[in-house]
């Protein structure tokens, strides 16, 4: 009985807490409104309802994605390059039980577009509304996994 309770507690804790082996995933997405809607790529299916609700687009195209290890042996800065044109520099400022405290810089080529500081929780994505491209909207995604 004691072992069972301990196992349940550890399972609950591990489901929510961040780990040294967590990854950060980034993606560059083109969001458009089409009739009929285009098929949602598999990596974006879980984000599709939120994007539709927040940004109002029903079709998504994955232009690029990249995943890096966050617990990278003490290396504070990482380059996340989901696409050749848009990419991130991510600095891990602190690792807390439920969050990674990150400083994020968004670049387009050599041009710095945005700097931000955020606490990213596991499986709680950060959406960045980028520039408009043609009839669509560029959206950048960051998620700790």
């Amino acid at each position: 009985m004691r072992r069972l309770l301990l196992s349940a507690a550890l399972a609950l804790a591990s489901a929510t807490a961040v780990h040294a082996s967590d990854d950060i995933w980034s993606a560059l997405v083109l969001a458009t409104s089409e009739t009929p809607p285009a098929e949602i790529p598999k990596p974006l299916q879980s984000f599709s309802p939120t994007i539709k609700k927040v940004f109002g687009f029903n079709s998504l195209y994955l232009l690029g994605q990249k995943k890096r290890d966050l617990g990278n042996g003490g290396e504070p800065d990482q380059w996340l390059v989901p696409s050749r044109d848009f990419f991130f520099q991510v600095t891990c400022l602190a690792q807390e039980p439920t969050h990674y405290h990150l400083r994020i810089a968004l670049f387009r080529g050599k041009e710095l577009l945005l700097t931000t500081e955020a606490k990213l929780a596991r499986d709680a994505p950060l959406f960045i509304r980028g520039p408009q491209w043609g009839k669509g909207q560029l959206i950048l995604l960051l998620e700790v996994r």
Binding site: L5, T16, D85, T98, L113, T116, P125, R129, P131, Q132
Partner: protein, 154 residues
């Protein structure tokens, strides 16, 4: 001796025939004989007295006895199997409540939060908000230069 007792009892009960009775009585001394002859009357009085004995306040005594029986728990009543099952169930429920109280808030509060977001271009701006009903957040940039369709983004 045993034979005497047997005969004596039969004499007291009046079961001896005439000849046996005379023979037995001739062997008794005067005092024993008179006491023995008074025995049937004595026995009758004793039986009558026993019939008439009754406890005072019988209802009160019955009530006291009933209360005493009810006050004492039945042996092992606290450890019937059903009781044990209920106890185990209650313990599991309590453990679930404690675990939920400790761990669920951690899960609920694990949201992505943006502290600050600044654009470099003076023509652009950034605002942030939490996504309603979800754990994610949004950085909403405005005023970014439009990228024409012909320009390739990859």
């Amino acid at each position: 001796m045993k034979n005497f007792e047997s005969t004596f009892n039969r004499w007291l009960d009046g079961e001896l025939d005439e000849a046996e009775r005379r023979e037995f009585e001739s062997g008794l001394d005067e005092e024993t004989l008179s006491a023995a002859k008074a025995w049937p009357a004595t026995r009758g009085l004793l039986k009558e007295s026993a019939r008439q004995i009754s406890l005072p306040h019988p209802d009160f005594l019955n009530e006291q006895i009933r209360r005493e029986i009810e006050r004492k728990p039945a042996p092992d009543a606290a450890w019937f199997p059903l009781r044990r099952l209920l106890l185990a169930g209650a313990c599991c429920l309590a453990a679930a409540v404690v675990l939920t109280a400790f761990f669920l808030p951690v899960q609920n509060h694990a949201e992505t939060v943006v502290f600050m977001a600044e654009t470099v271009s003076p023509d652009a701006s950034a605002s942030t908000f939490q996504i309603p009903g979800a754990r994610g957040a949004v950085i909403w940039m405005e005023g970014m230069p439009y990228i024409p369709d012909e320009e390739r983004v990859q």
